[in-house]
């Protein structure tokens, strides 16, 4: 039962017609997770509840009941989203034994749609990182080359889908943490518009930037998952009550007359030659399909990294203040006073990258520095958002590489945090502006590593984005199974 060969719609039909059982698909996924355990994609597997849910689907099918849209689909959840009674670590030692008392809305909605939640995936600690090397539970390995990173922070989710351990996965994206691993692992990764998907139950990193989104093997499946999780949630006041359109239907239709904007700032220095050439080839496909290529400019792109590393870290310093040993998780022993307990718990419980960002954010917000740092960053953020609004005056989607390079080697950027931060350059702008963005594979580098192209659209214009991505995907015909996975029986 090869999960990479199934899509969510056809699986539902196969289960409904009793040609395939949900339980057999589930066991096949669990078996696969076991066989590829050296990739370290999962922190927890939820075998019992998954089999139980699969049995429910099979019983419904046996009775001839109509099955929900994602019935039987094996979905993995990044370990920074809570599930009641299931260990949730956020990739951190400080939550090593945390069992939440509630479930994230996005996960609830998936389960209500018949999805089988197979486990919690490994990630950079508190979603802080671009390589999944910052997890307290060991790094995740790229199935295309196990000496390389899968990207981050949602590396485990990307690998789960890339290696056929799940059909879809949820990740979170604050500065590219869905799109960049999707690019490095050769799968589709989608960051919805800010406010499109409820953040209730997503352990917060940067509250004005975070969004939950799907990984999948196809734009069609990403759209199906998005349709299930999107929409207003009374538990998240930042979730929008804007209408949830029929995302699955919106992928249909051609791209004749679609204006594709190519921003010159994303094609300059630091861009790997293979990435540049594969992205440009993909854009030519748009032209062949009748789209119009338009030169645009996003002039404040060069300021995005400093803005992001002030805004995101400031928000993180506030959001992570709750991890203090009082209410959940790790508590340092032998602390004489409350203050000592806080200081030691956080010192021992947090990893280096998390501490670094908390420090930076605390500094940016501290008295005397607030205006010069956080205040300034908020103003430049407004300029970046304005850049997008201006650009969308002359185009409908913007096309860029997702990352400046293909997957780098484990340990390669470990000693240079600033270099790691600079590699987020193409993805962070969409989080700052709140616009939706998708990465889909557009080819392989000369050394056989996946390359992703990113498409960006206007706020809440997921339909145009999905239609553009779906058409491009069909034209590109990318073979998304890593060779090593194909060979292993």
């Amino acid at each position: 039962m090869e999960l990479k060969n199934l899509n969510t719609a056809s699986l539902r039909n196969l289960i409904a017609s009793r040609e395939v059982s949900a339980v057999e698909v589930c066991r096949s996924a669990l078996d696969r997770i076991e066989r590829f355990s050296d990739l370290n994609a999962f922190i927890t597997t939820t075998e019992e509840t998954a089999i139980g849910d699969a049995e429910k689907i099979d019983r419904a099918a046996a009775k001839g009941e109509p099955l929900p849209r994602l019935a039987g689909s094996i979905i993995a959840i990044k370990d920074n989203m809570v599930m009641r009674g299931v260990r949730t670590t956020a990739g951190s030692r400080i939550l090593f034994n945390y069992k939440p008392a509630y479930t994230a809305t996005a996960v609830d909605r998936l389960q209500a749609a018949g999805a089988i939640i197979i486990g919690k995936t490994n990630c950079d600690e508190f979603a802080m990182g671009s390589s999944t090397e910052n997890s307290a539970y060991g790094p995740v390995r790229n199935p295309w080359d196990s000496e390389r990173v899968p990207g981050g922070s949602s590396g485990g989710s990307a690998v789960a889908v890339a290696a056929g351990m799940a059909m879809g996965a949820l990740g979170s994206d604050t500065g590219g943490s869905i799109r960049q691993p999707a690019s490095f692992c050769g799968v589709v990764g989608f960051k919805p518009s800010y406010g499109r998907v409820s953040r209730y139950g997503l352990i917060a990193f940067g509250s004005s930037l975070d969004q939950i989104g799907p990984f999948a093997n196809s734009v069609e499946d990403a759209a199906a998952i998005l349709a299930v999780i999107a929409g207003r949630d009374v538990n998240d006041s930042t979730s929008s009550d804007a209408e949830v359109e029929d995302y699955s239907a919106s992928i249909n239709g051609d791209v004749r007359g679609l204006r594709v904007g190519v921003p010159r700032e994303y094609y300059g220095e630091g861009l790997d030659e293979d990435v540049k050439s594969k992205t440009e080839t993909a854009i030519k496909r748009f032209e062949e399909m009748g789209a119009r290529i338009v030169d645009v400019s996003l002039p404040h792109t060069q300021y995005a990294v400093p803005v992001y590393y002030l805004v995101a870290t400031a928000e993180a310093s506030s959001n992570l203040a709750r991890f203090d040993g009082v209410r959940y998780g790790f508590r340092a022993e032998e602390a004489g006073t409350l203050k000592e307990m806080y200081g030691r718990t956080r010192e021992q419980g947090f990893g280096a990258e998390v501490k670094r960002r908390i420090m930076l954010g605390t500094y940016a917000l501290s008295a005397g520095y607030y205006d010069a740092y956080y205040g300034k960053a908020q103003k430049v953020r407004a300029l970046i958002e304005r850049d997008f609004r201006n650009a969308f005056g002359s185009c409908d989607v913007i096309a860029t590489p997702t990352a400046p390079t293909p997957a780098f080697k484990l340990g390669e950027k470990a000693d240079n945090p600033l270099e790691m931060y600079l590699s987020d350059i193409y993805t962070i702008t969409a989080n700052l502006a709140g616009v939706p963005a998708i990465s889909l594979p557009c080819g392989l580098s000369t050394s056989g590593l996946p390359i992703g192209i990113q498409l960006i659209a206007r706020h809440f214009d997921e339909p145009t984005l999905l239609r553009a991505a779906h058409n491009l995907e069909k034209a590109l015909e990318f073979e998304s199974t890593p060779p090593a996975i194909q060979k292993k029986p």
């Binding site: 008392a101 006041s237 404040h300 400093p306 310093s317 300029l383 809440f460």
Partner: protein
């Protein structure tokens, strides 16, 4: 603007992180180089720009989300304290607040 060890110690105190001496050393260097790069923002004149704190404020029709101040069912005390490293009688239990 480079950051000094004393600054780093003060920030660590604010952030309730009991850093080791090695960490203070290495963070001083790393934060300095990051803050150096951040200086770039001063190339821009933003005197007339409204700060953006939220993605809904700019060009969107969605209003700031409010609801009536009415109590709704929530987690409840039992569930709220059950994950605590130490709890007693429905309270979180911690070391004494005022130290020696």
């Amino acid at each position: 603007m480079p950051i000094s060890k004393v600054d780093v110690e003060k920030i660590a105190e604010l952030a309730r992180l009991e850093l080791t001496n090695d960490e203070i050393e290495s963070f001083t260097g790393q934060l300095s180089s990051i803050l150096d790069h951040i200086e770039k923002l001063n190339e821009l004149d933003t005197a007339d720009v409204e700060p953006m704190s939220h993605c809904f404020t700019a060009g969107s029709d969605t209003q700031c989300a409010r609801r009536d101040d009415v109590t709704r069912p929530s987690l409840g005390q039992r569930l709220a304290v059950e994950s605590a490293p130490d709890n007693e009688a429905g309270y979180f239990k911690v070391p004494r607040v005022i130290g020696g």
